[in-house]
Symmetry: C2
Subunit: 252 residues, 2 copies
DNA sequence: AGTGTTTATCGTCAGGCAGACGACTATGAT
DNA sequence: ATCATAGTCGTCTGCCTGACGATAAACACT
């Protein structure tokens, strides 16, 4: 059977980003305000079309840089620089997910340390970090008394999937360090786990666990008191990516 | 900015399937022989174009049924009928992955019990179950002395990712039962783990573990001697999908 | 200077689970 | 009858975790 270009329907392909960070003890996601129909004025996940000569991961990295200024890690290289972790999440292709046309969106998950205010084309009003609970709740009112309209398109589902991926992945990998600055303390890392999982962890058992896992943390020699209290040792992320045995998420 | 249909490049979107099963103590994948260029005559993963009115999971289920006759489970329903497990794996969109045009492929992973010979349009010579090692090795010769040419396109990468997903997922979920018929013995389930992981497991510890995990296995009351030796109890898959604590894959 | 507060860090102890492995049971094959 | 094969039940030991006590080192008060 010869190749027939009319044998398949054309699609638009986009990348959407779930960019997560931890701010003020809460798991937050980057949201942008839509300036055009459909869903004009509603919050959405950042994203855009994949270009003709671009790989999917390249498109995701480009969108991430445009929205946050972050460079993405190559997932295969050691996590040494200050870039964000970026990985493919899932692909969403319901025929009705975009009322204009057939769009397949390849969602990606990015984890970033706490950043300064987002810059979206210089318009501070069109992008923000919002707690994921606020973005995912149906109805109700957000922190500023603003009506919490649901996210545009199927972005609530995408965000929910991304959060669940992050929650499970910090169990068995060292990914939680992607939420931390280059140097961090055990307590700061513990507060990441507490924010992402929404639970309280025992500081003593947590300290024993993370410092006892080979390759997870590397002491830098320095200390800090930026959290108050007794000075804490500073660490960098070690080379290990898989934690064995994993961190255990407390029961419900 | 108004909606501009020329603002994005058109893509073809396909689904490719990694269909795994366990045959003769080996993890096998379904491969089809390509009848047309490019890669004519080479083995490839089954797959096809997503239709204009179809969701991605629908397209994957349709392709699975066309290739194997299996109906796919709804991933949210209990695994009671004899359908196969089907889940989205990852999406591959390198601009050069198909020399003809820009194709984005949404790969799916299917796990099936041992099946009769595959039927691909009635042509028994164009589809087969092959051990994944054989499909993934570069060069060398397969079981029948046939030159083991690499899989077409980037299908070796897709297959490799699918196998890795299956290997890790049977650790913390009850998915290994998807490789078994409706009723199975503990020994048969253990041989599934051994084939997928490529290791030997202690039959006594394995028996203690799986029968002691609540909701994993439900005894049917029957017994069988189809494996020889002492009659073994028959079980069905229980309702539990997540195993906590997980099965532990032995160290390398 | 002393006291309280906060955070970090070390230790102890009991319970649970996994790996190693012995022992016994119930079939079919020779 | 004996053997080979597979299944099932126990035991023991070591490791890890959760629960918690205790100490250390900073800062903010008074």
């Amino acid at each position: 059977m010869p190749y027939d270009p009319s044998a398949f329907p054309p699609f638009a392909v986009t990348v959407d980003l779930v960019v997560l960070t931890v701010r003020r003890h809460a798991l937050c996601a980057l949201a942008v305000r839509r300036g055009e129909a459909p869903f004009q004025g509603r919050w959405a996940l950042p994203g855009g079309f994949v270009r003709a000569d671009e790989d999917l991961s390249q498109a995701a990295a480009r969108e991430l840089a445009e929205e946050t200024g972050l460079r993405a890690h190559d997932p295969d290289s050691p996590a040494q620089d200050n870039g964000a972790h970026l990985e493919q999440l899932a692909t969403y292709g319901d025929p009705k997910r975009d009322p204009r046309m057939r769009v397949v969106s390849v969602a990606h998950l990015a984890l970033a340390p706490d950043l300064p205010a987002p810059r979206a084309g210089g318009d501070a009003n069109s992008a923000r970090w919002a707690p994921v609970e606020e973005l995912l709740q149906q109805g109700g009112y957000g922190r500023d008394g603003e009506q919490a309209a649901p996210l545009a398109f199927d972005h609530a589902q995408i965000l929910s999937d991304g959060v669940e991926r992050a929650r499970s992945k910090i169990e068995y990998s060292s990914l939680a360090t992607a939420f931390c600055p280059t140097e961090f303390t055990v307590g700061e890392l513990r507060r990441v786990y507490e924010a992402v999982w929404g639970v309280a962890l025992d500081p003593r058992n947590f300290h024993r666990k993370v410092t006892g896992t080979p390759g997870f943390l590397v002491p830098t020699g320095g200390t800090t008191t930026r959290q108050g209290g007794r000075p804490a040792q500073l660490f960098r992320a070690g080379g290990a990516t898989l934690l064995n045995p994993p961190m255990l998420r407390p029961e419900v």
